[in-house]
Assembly symmetry: D2
Homo-oligomer: 433 residues x 4
Amino acid sequence: MTDFFKSIPTITYEGPDSDNEFAFRHYNPDEVLMGKRMEDHLRFAVAYWHSFAWPGGDPFGGQTLDRPWFGDTMDLARMKADVAFEMFDILGAPYFCFHDADARPEGATFKESQRNLEEITDYFAAKMEGSKTKLLWGTANMFSHKRWMSGASTNPDPEVFAYAAATVKGCMDATQRLGGENYVLWGGREGYETLLNTNLRVEADNMGRFLQMVVEYKHKIGFKGAILIEPKPQEPSKHQYDYDVATVYGFLCRYGLEKEVKVNIEQGHAILAGHSFEHEIATAASLGIFGSIDMNRNDYQSGWDTDQFPNNHAEKALAFYEILRAGGYTTGGTNFDAKIRRQSLDAEDLILAHVGGMDTCARALKSAAALLADGSLETLRRDRYAGWESEGARAMLQSDLTSITADVLARNVNPQPKSGRQERLENLWNKFV
Amino acid sequence: MTDFFKSIPTITYEGPDSDNEFAFRHYNPDEVLMGKRMEDHLRFAVAYWHSFAWPGGDPFGGQTLDRPWFGDTMDLARMKADVAFEMFDILGAPYFCFHDADARPEGATFKESQRNLEEITDYFAAKMEGSKTKLLWGTANMFSHKRWMSGASTNPDPEVFAYAAATVKGCMDATQRLGGENYVLWGGREGYETLLNTNLRVEADNMGRFLQMVVEYKHKIGFKGAILIEPKPQEPSKHQYDYDVATVYGFLCRYGLEKEVKVNIEQGHAILAGHSFEHEIATAASLGIFGSIDMNRNDYQSGWDTDQFPNNHAEKALAFYEILRAGGYTTGGTNFDAKIRRQSLDAEDLILAHVGGMDTCARALKSAAALLADGSLETLRRDRYAGWESEGARAMLQSDLTSITADVLARNVNPQPKSGRQERLENLWNKFV
Amino acid sequence: MTDFFKSIPTITYEGPDSDNEFAFRHYNPDEVLMGKRMEDHLRFAVAYWHSFAWPGGDPFGGQTLDRPWFGDTMDLARMKADVAFEMFDILGAPYFCFHDADARPEGATFKESQRNLEEITDYFAAKMEGSKTKLLWGTANMFSHKRWMSGASTNPDPEVFAYAAATVKGCMDATQRLGGENYVLWGGREGYETLLNTNLRVEADNMGRFLQMVVEYKHKIGFKGAILIEPKPQEPSKHQYDYDVATVYGFLCRYGLEKEVKVNIEQGHAILAGHSFEHEIATAASLGIFGSIDMNRNDYQSGWDTDQFPNNHAEKALAFYEILRAGGYTTGGTNFDAKIRRQSLDAEDLILAHVGGMDTCARALKSAAALLADGSLETLRRDRYAGWESEGARAMLQSDLTSITADVLARNVNPQPKSGRQERLENLWNKFV
Amino acid sequence: MTDFFKSIPTITYEGPDSDNEFAFRHYNPDEVLMGKRMEDHLRFAVAYWHSFAWPGGDPFGGQTLDRPWFGDTMDLARMKADVAFEMFDILGAPYFCFHDADARPEGATFKESQRNLEEITDYFAAKMEGSKTKLLWGTANMFSHKRWMSGASTNPDPEVFAYAAATVKGCMDATQRLGGENYVLWGGREGYETLLNTNLRVEADNMGRFLQMVVEYKHKIGFKGAILIEPKPQEPSKHQYDYDVATVYGFLCRYGLEKEVKVNIEQGHAILAGHSFEHEIATAASLGIFGSIDMNRNDYQSGWDTDQFPNNHAEKALAFYEILRAGGYTTGGTNFDAKIRRQSLDAEDLILAHVGGMDTCARALKSAAALLADGSLETLRRDRYAGWESEGARAMLQSDLTSITADVLARNVNPQPKSGRQERLENLWNKFV
Ligand SMILES: [Co+2]
Ligand SMILES: [Co+2]
Ligand SMILES: [Co+2]
Ligand SMILES: [Co+2]
Ligand SMILES: [Co+2]
Ligand SMILES: [Co+2]
Ligand SMILES: [Co+2]
Ligand SMILES: [Co+2]
C-alpha cells in the first residue's frame, strides 16, 4: 500500500445532489438501463500511460508532475503498478489499458525489454487476482523511442519492421496472459513527414502485411479478443495512414481484413480529422467495424490532441446514442485516453478528473438510453426512409438507368421536397438530454 | 460572333520576358517535355459553370456580373455557347467541361429539361466541328435545384433517386454524343446535415447501387471514357460521403467498383479534407484510381471552397510531380473548376484569370518534368527503401510474428535511425522549381 | 392576420416534463433568478432577415423556402411584417432586430429606397403599438447589393462611402423612431480579398472616420442606445477588419472611440476567429466594451458561418456565466441571428427552431445563475489571485526591474507551482449544469 | 575548434546553376538591390535554441539528436557556443538570437542561473570579437521550467512575477552587453488553460505593468534597440494574450505603449491565428509597429507550430514585398526560428536547412524588389484609391452624416462597381516571382 492517495476515500455513488467532491453524482454501477447494469454498459477503462507515466511535459515545457515512481528501474515499475491498482480500486474502474513502455523500463536490448515486460506482466497478473479490475486492451508503444522515428511496420528499414513484429508479439502475449479483451494498434508514426522521401505503395503493403501477421498470430494463440486499429489523421506524423474510420475501412478491404479488424475511435482524433465523434461511431457501426472508444475530448480551439477528460454530457450523449443504436459494446469499452492538465499537480486532481469523466459519461448514457427507449426519434427516422420499403423502390434498385428513365418520363416524376425537421429533432433530443 | 470579348486578342506564347498581359509567358503548347507536347501533358479544360453560368453571388451578396446571356431561354443558352466557344478559341483551350444545368434552361418537367439538353448538345456538337476544343467530361448538376436538397441517389425519397437516374442517363448520353473523355460525379448533397434524421446504411447502399448502374450503363452504351468521382469533405453538406480519396476507395471496394471508377481530385477539396493536393494525387495513384484533376486552389485562410485560379507555380509543381510520377494523365486532364472573384467584373478578367492559371500550371509542369528527368530525387527515394529488396526482407514478409521474434532475439536486432534528409530534399526540389 | 402560422398555438411555459412540442420546457419569462425576471435577463430577439427574408439558398443551391411574401413590392413588405409580428406574438419575443434591406424593397434610387424604408418604419411603428415586442437593434445591410462589393466605408470609391453614410443615417433614424435600444454595425465587406489591391491605411482611416461620424450623429439626435460593432474574422471577405473583440478594441483606441462603442458578439464568429464564445464575452467584459450577443452557433466541423440555433445548454451556460459575471445586459440582449436549415421547409420548423433556442438559453441561464449564486467558483478564483492583494505585491507593481531583482536575490525567491485544479473546477461546474 | 561540422565547407554563393549542395544558389550577400546589399536587406539570424538546444523530441517521442554538447554543465555550454559560432561562420550568418535557457545551465537558485548566464555572456562576447556575427536579439525563456506553468508576468503568484522581472532584467543586461539590436518577449504561457480559474483583468494589468517596467528599464540603461512582442494565438497555452498583431496593438494602446513597443512576427504564428504572414506584416506596418520577423513556416495541414524552414520562395515573396513597401527593416531582421525535422539527424542537415532557408528568402527578396522597382503594382494600387485624393472626398471626411445624406440625395449618387482585377494583379505578380 503506497501513500500516494492516502487522504482520498473510495468513490461511491451519492446522487446528483451530493456536495461531496469525492463521490459520483451520476455513475451508479448497479443501476439498470435497458436491461443492463450501467457498469456493463460503460465498461470504463483507465489509461496507464497518461495517469502513471506522463511527467507533465508539453512541446514548450518540461516535467511538472512529481511522482515517487518516476524512473527506470523494475522497483519503480512495481511501485507504479501498486499506485495504479490503488487508483483502480478508489474509482471502482472495471478495466485498464496499457502499452509495454508504460509498464516496464526499456532494456538495453530487445531481449531485456521483453524480459522486463514479462516480469511486470506477472506482477500485474498477481495484482489482478486481488482486484476486480480487468484488462480492456493491451498495445505496443511503437512511437516514442527514436528507433520508431520513421515508422514501425512502415519503416524504410526492414530491421525496424522486424523489431516491431517482435514487439507486437510480446504485447499480444502479455495481453493474452492478462485476459485482455482486445488488442489495439495505433500507428502514430505509420505515416509520413514529407512525400519527397516516401514510397506510399511500399509502406502500405508492409503495413497491410504486418496487420495480416497480427491477425494470423491472434488465431494461432487463440486470442478471443478483437484486434482494433485506432485512427488518427496526424500528430505526431504530418500525415497518418489510419486517417479516420472510412480510411481504415478502405485499408482493411485492400488487405482482406475487413472481417478481422475493428476500430477504436477517439473523440479527439475524430475532431482532428474534421468529423464529429458521433459521425465516426455511426460510420464504423454502419460498416460493421465498430469496436471501442477512447473517450477523451479535444479542445475545439486547439489544433492538436489535448486528450482532456470529457466534461459536456450533452455532447457526449450523441456518442452514446450511436453506441446504443449499434447494440452497445461487445468486447469494447470506454477508455479514458485522457490526461490531466500539466498544471493539475495534486493526487486529488488525478482522481477527480476520472470521477468527472465517469459522471459525464454516465449522465450522457442515461440520456441516450432514455431517448432510445422512448423510440420517437427512431420512429421518425424510419418514417423518413419508409418509401424505400415499397416494392416499387426495391424493384427500381434492381433495375437500370434506361428503365428508370422510361418510368420517370412515363409518370412525369416531379419529386416534392419534404422538411428535414432538423430543429424539431434537436428539440426532441433536448427533451431527453 | 458575339462582341463580348471583342477587344481581346487570341492568346499566344511569347515567353517569360513578354510585357504583353494577353500572352502566355510559360504555356507553349507545342513545346516538348519528356517526349510529349505540353498541351498533351496538361490537357487544360475550361469549366462552363464558373465561367459562363455564375452570376457573382456569395452567401452574403447577390449578382455582380452582368452578362448578356443570363436568362432562361434557349436563345440565351445558345448565345452563352457562342461566347464560351469564343473564349475557348482565344485561350486555345483543348477541352471544356459542363453540367446539364450550366448549358440548358431548366424545363417545367423532366422531359422538357431533357429536350433542352439534347438541343444544346446538338448545338455544342455543331460548334465543336468548327473548333479544336473537345469535351474533357460531362456531369449532372444534382445539387442546385431544391429537389436535390436532401440528396440525389441518397435521398430518403425514391422518386428523387429515380429523377437522378434519369438525369445521369441524359448527361451520359450527352457526354457520349460529344465524344467526352470522362464522366464525373460530384455528390455535393450526397451526405447529411444531421445524423439525427439520417440512415447511413440505406444512403450508402443506394449510392453504391446508383454507381453500379452508372457503370453498367457505361458498358451498355460502349462509353470509352472513365467514370470519375470527385471527392469533397463538406460544403454544401455538413458531411459528404465522398470525403476524400481514401474514403472513396473504401466506398468503391464496398460496392465492388474499385476497378471501374477513378477519382477527379480538386485542390480545394483536398485542403478542406485536411490534406495537401499532392497527397491526394499520390494516394490515388498508389491505389490505382487516379483519374483527373480540378486545378483550382482554396485560400488557406478560408474554411470554404474559394475555387480560385492557381497562382503559385512552386506549390503546384508538387502536384504535377506526382502526376508525372504516376505516368501522367490517360483520359484525365487539368480542369479549371475556378471562378474569378466576384469583384472581377470585366471580360478581360475572365480571360486573364485563365491565362494566369495556364501559365502557373505550365511553369509547374516544367519544373516537375525537369526534376523527374534529372532523376536524383527518385534515386534517393529508391535508396531509402533499398533494404526491402533484399532476400531477407522479402522472406520476412512471407513469415510470421513468431519466426521474426526468434530472429530478432537471435541476431539481437537493434535498428539505428537514419536521417530522413527532408531539408536536403527540399533544397534539391528548389533547384528545379 | 395572415394564415401562415394558422395551426400553431401561442407558446407558453409548461415545464421540463411537457410532451407538447409547442411549449417551453425551460423558458419561463416571469420566473425570477438573482432578483430579475428571466425575460429581463435574456432579452430575446428575433432576427428579421433569417426568419423572413432568407429564401433558403446556399453557395451550391437556390431557393427552397416558399413564402407568400417573397417579392419586391411594398405590399409584400407589409405582409412580411404582418407575419413577423404574428411570430413575435406566438413566441412572446420581447425584441426583434432588422436591416433596412430585410424590411423594404430596394428602390431605383437612394431616395426611393429611403422612402420605402420610412414607410415600412411607420408600418412597424403602428404594429408595435399593438405588440409587446420592441426593437433591440437596427442595422444597415451594406454587403448584399453589388455596390458594396468592395466595401462600404472602406470602399476605394468615395461615392460608396457617401452612399453608406446616407444609408446608416437612414437606418439610425429608423432605429430611433422605433425606440431601438442599440444600433449595430457589421462590416461584412469592410475587409479585403487580396492585399495586392488594398491600401490598409486608407481603409482603416476611412472606417475610423465613418465610425466617428456615427457616434457624432448618435449624440446629435440624442439616441440613447449603444453603438455596437459585430466582429467577424472573414466571410464574405477573405479578411475582415473587425476580426474579433480584441481587434475591435485596438481599432476603437486608434480612433478614440473606446468609450463610445461596444461589441455585439456572435458565437459563430467567435469560433471562426479561433476563440470560444465565452472567451469573447469575457474579453469584452474585461475591456469594458461588452454590449450584446448574437446567440447562434456554428457547426464545429464547418469552416463557415452556419448560423444555427443553439441546442447545447451545457455549452451555452459558459456564455451566460460570463454575461452574468459581467453584470448582465444593459442595453444588450440575446439575438438569434440564426436560420433554420434550408431543408426545414415548414412554418412549424421556423417556430420550433426559436422555441428550442429559447429553451436552450433559459436552461443555460438557470445553470449559470445557480453557480454564480452558489459562489464557490468565484471564491476559488479569488483565492487563486489572493497574493496580488498583499501590500508587497502592490508595492512591487509600483517598483522597477532593478529593485525587484534585488529583492529576488535577497530573499532567494523560488516560486513553487500550485495546482490549477482545472478538472475539479469542471466538476464543480457540472454540478450546476 | 570542434569537429562537429568537420567535413562541411564554408558556404559561398555559386549561382542558380550550381550543382554544389553546399553553396548558395540565390543568396549573394554583396549583391545590391534597390541600393542596399542583400545581406543588409535580409539581416539573417540563426536561432540558438532550435539549432543547438533542441534534442529532437515531440509530444509522442523523445530525443533523436545526439549532440556531444548536450548536458547541464558550463563546459558543455561552452562547447555548444563553440559549435554555434562555427556554424555562424560556415553560413556567413550576420546575426544570431538566444534565450538565457538555451545558453546556460539552469542553476539551483536564481543567483546561480544568473551567474551562469553572465559567464556564458562573457564567453559569447569573446567569441563575437573574432566573428562577424552579431546579436539580433536576446530574450528570456519563461515557459519551459515548471515555475512558469501558469504564466510569468500573468502568474497568479506574485513571486513568479518577481522571478520573471529579475529574469528579464538579466536577459536585457546580457543583450545590452552583447550589443543586441532588439529585445524580444514571447509570452508562451501568458494566457490561460481555462477561463474557470482565470482573472483576465488582473492578468492583463500585471502583464501591462510588466511591459511598462521593461520599457522603463530599457530607457534607464540606454538600450538603443527595439522592444518587440512576438504574437502567437495559442500553444502551449489554450489561449495566448498576444494573439496576433492587431490584438497586441490594442494591448499596447491599453497600457500606453504603442509608441514604445513593436512586433516580431512569425509566419507560423500568423497561420495559427487565421492570417497570412503578409497580412500580419502589412497590418503591423500600417499600425506603425512593424519590427522584425521569425521566418519559419508552418505546415498548412498541421494545427500546431511546426517551425519549419521556408522552402517556397513564391509564397515568401509576398512577405518580403510588404517588408520592402514598409521601408525594410530598421533594427529588425530575418530570424530562422526554425528547426530541422527530428528525423534530420546529421550535421549536414542542420547546415543545409539554413542554406535552403536563406536561398528561399534571397530569391523571394529579389522578386519582391524587382516588382517594387518596376512600380506597376503600386501605380495600380494608387489609382484604385485616387478618388480619395480629390478635394470633395477630403471635405466629406470632415463632414457629417446629415450633410453627406443631403449630398447623396442632391446628386442622386449611385456608385457603379469597378473591377478589383485580382487575377490580373496576380499575373503581374507572377511576372516577377
Ligand atoms: Co489522442
Ligand atoms: Co487514443
Ligand atoms: Co470545389
Ligand atoms: Co471541382
Ligand atoms: Co454570422
Ligand atoms: Co450576427
Ligand atoms: Co513558433
Ligand atoms: Co518565433
